[in-house]
Amino acid sequence: MKPLPQNLKYSTTHEWVRIDNEIATVGISDHAQALLGDVVFVELPEIGKTLSSGDEIAVVESVKAAADVYSPVPGQVTAVNPKLQDSPELINQDPYDQGWLFQIRLQGDLPFTLLSAEDYQALLDAE
């Protein structure tokens, strides 16, 4: 298992989020991709869509299973990762960087349920 990047926040549903000013970049954790296995398809949100935190926003499908992705933060979708259409395996290979899913312009407060790397690690250890 790759070490958890310290600069990211994590959700209890295994998404990660990186916040740069008002833009949040979202992906799924290394733990989540390992559980899913080989990813072969990603359904990404429409740009411009407005979300509350916890909304179902994307689907990551491996050979074996489909997993819903929930938005860890509220806001409006501004971008989706264009490489995933043809190379969904980036989610397996590089979940915290090239395998990002979408970006959101933050609106409203960050949910207090977001976890630090340390707390997310504790959650994984407890599973």
Partner: protein, 360 residues
């Protein structure tokens, strides 16, 4: 904790991700299910399928018994060392299980049953013994390996065991050979050339390690599922069960209605169903857009009639989503499949989805 095969420790040592399958802790994959799939299509892979159950049928009545309980006719096997795929039906013509029967000796047949159905199958088989002179022997002392892929014959041929390499060179597709130390059959569930080996539990670890050393890569049940789906092989419990007959399961070719004087369980129901007209069929679907097909998705024909996918996945060989689906009989070549409340176009094809490698 689930049941374990003799190879459980080997799987863990090779980094397998284990899953529950029919009560057994079995390897799902050893890193990448996709790589294992391609390995079998292009080279050679090794599966532990020891969760499946070997049953020997011994006695002077074995042949007539099998002719009675199986929808296919073991009389098609003209000589020893032949194998036959068949369904075992209930009185309503529904499929209790699908199996391969091997003709070893005139008074010795061997069948291999699905793990999840073995107990039910054996209870049924016991109940049908009646006047037939035979014994059913469940062989829990044996393990099963599947060595599959186009390079399997060449790799096995270098084993330093003359009896074994003779067998590899001699037996053809759907043939088998049994001796004191191993049973080998040129059968499988991947759509590739390959062999299934049945060996003693006490020796299976040694076989496994030997075959891995020859270049067979261990493969899990994940790859086994995508391989069998591409090959158009049904999975019992998913694509067929006790409520579906061979007619609507793409298995009409396994039902031997001739000779007409052979009575077998389910025959009357099958004839009645045929007379009335079979109105559904198990077909293949290929999704025309990106996405993944899964089981239990609704299928819509142009005229509004509906069916349902029974197995679905991503085909690593085609790079597209594929499925088996039970749909109303149709001449249509296209349909729509509902995925997360949206309909997507798919083409209707006759399985298999891939053309098998030419066999020796």
């Amino acid at each position: 904790m689930g049941k374990r095969t003799e190879l459980y420790e080997q799987h863990l040592a090779m980094g397998a991700k284990m899953v529950d399958f029919a009560g057994f802790d079995m390897p799902l994959h050893y890193g990448s299910q996709l790589e294992e799939h391609h390995q079998v299509r292009q080279a050679a892979g090794l599966f532990d399928v020891s969760h499946m159950v070997v049953v020997d049928i011994l006695g002077t009545g074995a042949r007539e018994y099998l002719r009675y309980i199986l929808a296919n006719d073991v009389d098609k096997m003209q000589h020893r060392g032949k194998a036959l795929y068949s369904c075992m039906l209930n009185d309503q013509g529904g499929i209790i299980d699908d199996l391969i029967v091997y003709f070893l000796e005139p008074e010795h047949y061997r069948i291999v049953l699905n793990a999840g159905t073995a107990a039910k199958d054996l209870a049924w088989m016991e109940s049908q013994v009646n006047h037939f002179a035979l014994g059913l022997h469940r062989r829990d002392d044996l393990s099963i390996l599947a060595a599959q892929g186009p390079k399997s014959p060449a790799l096995l041929n270098v084993l330093d065991q003359p009896l074994f390499t003779d067998a590899v060179q001699t037996i053809k597709r759907f043939e088998c050979l049994d001796n004191e130390n191993f049973f080998i059959a040129r059968t499988g569930y991947t759509g590739e050339d390959g062999f299934e080996l049945i060996v003693r539990n006490t020796e299976v670890v040694q076989w496994w390690q030997q075959l891995c050393a020859l270049g067979f890569k261990p493969c899990g049940l994940g790859a086994r599922d995508t391989l069998r789906l591409e090959a158009g092989y049904n999975l019992y419990g998913q694509d067929m069960d006790e409520t579906t007959s061979p007619w609507c399961s793409n298995l009409a070719w396994t039902v031997a209605l001739k000779p007409e004087n052979r009575l077998f369980i389910g025959k009357q129901a099958l004839l009645t169903e045929k007379d009335r007209g079979v109105n559904t069929a198990l077909v293949g679907l290929i999704l025309e857009t990106k996405g993944v097909l899964r089981s239990h998705q609704r299928v819509f024909l142009a005229d509004g009639r509906e069916g349902m996918t029974t197995s679905g996945s991503f085909s690593p060989s085609l790079g597209k989503a594929i499925a088996l689906a039970r749909i109303p009989k149709t001449e249509d070549s296209h349909c729509q499949v509902e995925i997360r409340d949206q309909r997507y176009p798919a083409s209707i094809v006759k399985p298999p989805f891939i053309s098998p490698n030419p066999l020796n």
